[in-house]
């Protein structure tokens, strides 16, 4: 199985690369569209700013290739910003358009605390058996923007949340897309388990 990691020229590339390597995989770094075609599972890392990331993907034809990959039914894992760019609209350093796959917008925390940095406990929606083991487990978060679902049926794809200043959607599963607001590559044992879950995941496309 070939795992690809999108390199959008920001992101904590070494961290995600080595966490997969330690799990026994040899991931391929993807910075141009030709490499994507050979990939079975795709990971889009975090640590970046929305606008520069999306500009980079669009300028390097990766944006459309990721869309094609998404439609092909092969699994994608989006981490932090890698999750947020699947929304419709992002408000970080100006407005940018995401993939529009999840009916949500990405907005900043506005109350007293502007950043959520540290470990939080995930509360999962128990309707999916395979994510139950992650209930009440702690994961590492580092962000000041979060996914805000629009009032639509897409809310049902939110399978895990944390309570910060707002309720923060933190685990999203829609068809062959899995998105996490936290950093599994930085969440020690629990993070490794989540990565393993993704690596073994065979999504049901009708869900």
């Amino acid at each position: 199985m070939k795992i690809g990691i999108i390199n959008y020229n920001a992101c904590n590339l070494a961290s995600i690369y080595f966490s997969l390597y330690r799990l026994g995989y040899d991931p391929i770094l993807i910075n141009n569209k030709n490499k994507i075609k050979k990939i079975d599972k795709l990971i889009i890392p975090g640590v970046g700013a929305a606008k520069s990331c999306l500009d980079y993907l669009k300028e390097n034809s990766l944006f459309d290739e990721i869309k094609i990959f998404l439609k092909s039914g092969k699994p994608i894992l989006g981490i932090c910003l890698g999750l947020q760019i699947f929304s419709k609209k992002l408000h970080e350093h100006g407005i940018s358009q995401g993939f529009g796959f999840i009916d949500a917008e990405v907005v900043p925390f506005k109350k007293r605390k502007k950043f959520n940095i540290g470990w939080s406990i995930l509360k999962v929606n128990e309707d999916l058996d395979f994510i139950k083991p992650f209930s009440e487990k702690s994961f590492y978060f580092c962000h000041s923007f979060y996914l805000k679902f629009n009032d639509s049926l897409d809310k049902k794809y939110c399978k895990g949340i944390i309570d910060f200043e707002e309720v923060v959607p933190s685990l999203i599963i829609k068809k062959n897309f899995m998105g996490v607001q936290f950093h599994p590559e930085k969440s020690q044992r629990n993070g490794n388990k989540l990565l393993k879950l993704f690596l073994n995941w065979k999504p049901k496309l009708n869900v």
């Binding site: 920001a10 070494a14 970046g48 520069s52 605390k113 580092c142």
Partner: protein
């Protein structure tokens, strides 16, 4: 959740530990130490390259990369970082956040440059506080006229994601953290603040927790004593503090 962050100094590929920013002695292999700290559930690691800070050499990116190979603990790396290019190398080679102190005193534009590419959450701004005539001043401030809290707020408004406060005079003394001034800082800031300096006993940590400090960086307590992070957290848990075990 209360964050316990081992604060490690790197010099010539080894960890070192000193007192009041001098008298450094060898404190072990960085890769092995960080691996052990990860197993003890360290919440994050703060790693400062002392040579890069003091001698203005290139930061030791190789060691950072070696650490990233074995570690899935969040890492903040710093030491003399004063430009975007270097920050980028740090953030793409194993660090999740870059620590910048002195350079921000002279060039706050660096915050904008890094934030545009990596996001504001990737920048930890540092201030070193020195006590002179019963008053705290910034180590970098030759005029001694700048109010450190106003300065910290300025860094927040400019866009750092976290603030790290170091009480230089307290470093390595085991006298406990400066609580009154820390309270004033916390009152003004709307971003996470990490405190370091003087924490030498378990009771000191409880004092921090009680004034709503959410994150502490520990040097002496972890590197040169037999305090194990699990032991520290177990103590805090027994005192009804919320910690990750």
């Amino acid at each position: 959740m209360f964050r316990i962050i081992p604060s490690l100094l790197l010099s010539n590929k080894k960890l070192v530990k000193g007192k009041n920013f001098s008298n450094y002695i060898n404190a072990g292999n960085p890769v092995a130490t960080i691996s052990a700290l990860e197993h003890q559930t360290a919440d994050e690691i703060l790693l400062i390259d002392l040579d890069a800070y003091k001698l203005k050499t290139e930061p030791d990116i190789n060691t950072l990369k070696k650490i990233a190979e074995i570690s899935s603990t969040p890492i903040t790396f710093g030491g003399g970082v004063d430009n975007f290019k270097l920050s980028k190398r740090i953030l793409t080679n194993g660090a999740d956040k870059v620590y910048i102190n002195t350079a921000l005193f002279h060039n706050k534009g660096l915050i904008d440059e890094i934030a545009l590419c990596f996001g504001n959450q990737s920048i930890v701004g540092g201030i070193n506080l020195i006590k002179k005539n019963n008053k705290y001043i910034l180590a970098e401030d030759k005029s001694q006229k700048i109010n450190p809290i106003h300065y910290a707020k300025e860094l927040e408004n400019r866009g750092i994601g976290e603030l790290k406060v170091t009480y230089v005079n307290l470093e390595g003394t085991k006298l406990g953290l400066e609580l009154d001034y820390s309270k004033k800082i916390l009152y003004e800031m709307n971003i996470p603040v990490i405190f370091e300096g003087g924490i030498g006993k378990l009771e000191h940590l409880l004092e921090c927790y009680k004034i709503n400090i959410s994150s502490v960086a520990l040097g002496t307590l972890i590197i040169f004593s037999d305090y194990h992070i699990i032991k520290i957290k177990q103590y805090l848990k027994n005192e009804n503090c919320v910690v990750r075990i």
